[in-house]
């Protein structure tokens, strides 16, 4: 057993940290306030290979793994959750291509993420199908050599800014098993009939692009089907087993960022004649916080490491996501409390982190969904 990071992993974390501190710090508050899309930062991050770390070199990617992806996003979120979110989603969903795509599809769609303007998205959620993904009703019907897609999606990352969208579609409604009805189809967002409206007013991570998407007779060649027709639900679950590991990394970064701010504040702020940190009650608080962040980090790294060993662990990944995201929400609450009244104003970073945290317990599997997965993995399907 060896808990040491490799030299490369340490260098990668450091590179991500330096980039985030150098590029996010001065703009984060303003971008969040004005919901400004971080176009320039995306361009720079792509050039530096700081997106899609798990995409192999043969497809133009950095050629590392999910652990490195989690580490980079951890460092990004530690400095600014919103920009971190946006950089995460650049390659969102490409796991489907890596796991199920043909060689041709991978060669065609992956390299432009790094060399071109490609921004991915994965359209899953619908107005009436959130956690219940099997209820998705956006249809894809075969017509000649094409699929024709109709329906709508909501809360989709990169809906307006994305160039490529993986769409979770209903293709086999007659199938009895609800896990055999859907398929994943890749479409270019400049196809006729694709419309997206930016959803404004998010509570946090506001610089990231989130949209409603409407498909009206969007024609896509059948060769854009990713994996097998009717296998979409299974493919989606395997995607979540991967993405959840690094989304849990978001939570570790956000929690660490909130802890960093708390430590700085309690060392500087004096009340009753001494720094807050000199009071034992504060020391205990900081000790508890640091312990939880470290616990979360270890769970997330282990889950991501197992993925890179080719042994995805659905239960552990769900646990890491559940726990790390819970810790993140707890840490912003504790950190803001330590900041007192100052923390309630938006010139303090903790205010932005506080608003950003909650989404972690909702997207990429709500905390309730994670518990269902963990419970089932432990108890089986009791009837």
């Amino acid at each position: 057993m060896n808990f040491d990071l490799t030299n490369e992993q340490r260098d990668i974390k450091k590179a991500a940290r330096d980039f985030a501190v150098g590029e996010f710090t001065d703009v984060a508050r303003e971008y969040d306030l004005n919901e400004t899309f971080p176009e320039e930062i995306i361009k720079k991050a792509k050039e530096l290979g700081l997106v899609g770390l798990f995409i192999p070199e043969e497809y133009g990617g950095p050629g590392f793994g999910y652990l490195e992806q989690a580490m980079v996003l951890e460092e990004f979120w530690r400095v600014d959750p919103g920009i971190g979110q946006q950089l995460c989603t650049i390659s969102f969903g490409v796991e489907e291509l890596l796991l199920y795509g043909t060689e041709e599809q991978k060669k065609k769609f992956l390299p432009p993420i790094f060399e071109g303007n490609t921004i991915f998205g994965f359209a899953i959620t619908e107005p009436d199908a959130g956690s219940d993904t099997a209820a998705a009703s956006t249809t894809a019907v075969k017509d000649g050599n094409d699929y024709v897609i109709n329906g709508s999606k909501v809360m989709i990352s990169n809906g307006t800014k994305g160039t490529h969208m993986l769409v979770y579609c209903l293709t086999n409604p007659e199938e009895k098993s609800k896990t055999g009805r859907h398929s994943i189809i890749l479409l270019e967002t400049n196809r006729k009939g694709y419309e997206a409206d930016r959803m404004e007013g998010k509570m946090g991570i506001r610089c990231s692009d989130t949209a409603s998407i409407y498909f009206t007779d969007v024609r896509v060649p059948q060769e854009n089907l990713i994996g097998k027709e009717g296998n979409g639900f299974i493919q989606l679950m395997n995607f979540f087993d991967r993405s959840r590991a690094y989304v849990a990394g978001h939570a570790v970064g956000l929690a660490q960022g909130a802890l960093d701010m708390a430590i700085k504040h309690v060392k500087e702020r004096k009340q009753f004649g001494q720094p807050l940190g000199a009071f034992q009650v504060t020391q205990f608080k900081i000790a508890e916080m640091a312990t939880k962040v470290e616990t979360a980090r270890n769970m997330v790294y282990k889950a991501a490491w197992l993925l890179d060993q080719g042994r995805p662990d659905t239960k552990l990944t769900a646990m890491a996501k559940l726990y790390a995201c819970h810790v993140a929400v707890e840490m912003v609450d504790e950190s803001l409390q330590l900041h007192g009244g100052y923390g309630y104003f938006n010139d303090q970073d903790i205010e932005r982190f506080y608003r950003a945290a909650k989404v972690l317990e909702i997207y990429e599997g709500t905390k309730e969904v994670e518990k269902i997965i963990i419970g089932r993995e432990i108890l089986g399907n009791l009837k």
Partner: protein, 262 residues
């Protein structure tokens, strides 16, 4: 154009709380974050830019503990081709003279056109290792360099002087230049760079490889001795100005003018 860059791993102290350790001659470093010396980072970047124009190779050199390899790997990831690590405990603890002596032994016989160092190190701030090394190697040097243009066997350089003045000089190559911050905008380390760095060699050098005796390096080989380190005493000389913002600004400007700040 073959370039050698000397780099040093130092603690980041700009925002850290510094405390003196028991020996009274060093600071507590356990909680500090270490990174490449800021000036050296500019030197590495300058080397990479010169090579992009002129071709050639870049070798980075450091003298320091095992952890100094982090700094070498960083320079390799930024684009250096190879690295030399003077990695022997007996090298440690020397003054700039002892350090330069070890570096000179390591660089002796190497063919290079340019030798770059940072103006100074962020930890001890001597600003001497570069010039001493140049003297020991018997090559010309220039300090506080803010611009470099290579012109065949010569370099045209800008040097920063007091009071915002700059001088332009020509220097024969091979030469040693100590690089000032702000000369360029150092690049971020890229993930591809980190991957490439893994394939590059870090050659480790021991004291016996250099034919030096322990008396020539470390404290024994030093010409100066650090006696004591202390934090500047807190003085109570702060003056609070009262009055309207206009009056106060005039007072502040007068003082800045008087002290040469404007």
């Amino acid at each position: 154009m073959n370039i050698i860059v000397c780099v040093k791993r130092v603690p980041e102290t700009s925002e850290a709380e510094i405390t003196i350790d028991k020996s009274g001659k060093d600071i507590h470093t356990e909680d500090l974050v270490f990174d490449i010396n800021e000036w050296d980072n500019y030197a590495v970047e300058e080397a990479v830019r010169i090579r992009e124009k002129e071709g050639g190779t870049i070798t980075v050199v450091t003298l320091g503990s095992q952890e100094s390899q982090d700094t070498l790997r960083r320079a390799l990831a930024m684009g250096a081709d190879g690295a030399i690590h003077l990695n022997d405990p007996s090298f440690l603890g020397g003054d700039p003279y002892a350090t330069a002596q070890a570096l000179q032994a390591a660089l002796k016989g190497k063919l290079f056109d340019l030798l770059l160092t940072g103006v100074q190190a962020g930890d001890d701030g001597y600003a001497q290792t570069g010039p001493i090394l140049a003297e020991l190697l018997n090559i010309p040097h220039a300090t506080m360099v803010t611009k470099v243009d290579i012109d065949g066997k010569k370099a045209r350089i800008h040097r920063e002087l007091e009071g915002g003045l700059e001088e332009v000089c020509e220097i024969e190559l091979p030469a040693l230049l100590t690089i000032q911050t702000g000369i360029n905008e150092p690049r971020y380390v890229s993930i591809m760079g980190i991957r490439k760095a893994k394939q590059k060699e870090i050659r480790e050098v021991l004291i016996k490889d250099l034919g030096l005796s322990p008396e020539q390096v470390s404290a024994a080989g030093s010409l100066t001795e650090l006696k004591e380190l202390f934090l500047p005493p807190t003085c109570k000389v702060a003056e609070i100005f009262k009055g309207s913002p206009d009056d106060v600004s005039i007072k502040v400007i007068d003082i800045l003018k008087e002290k040469g700040g404007l």
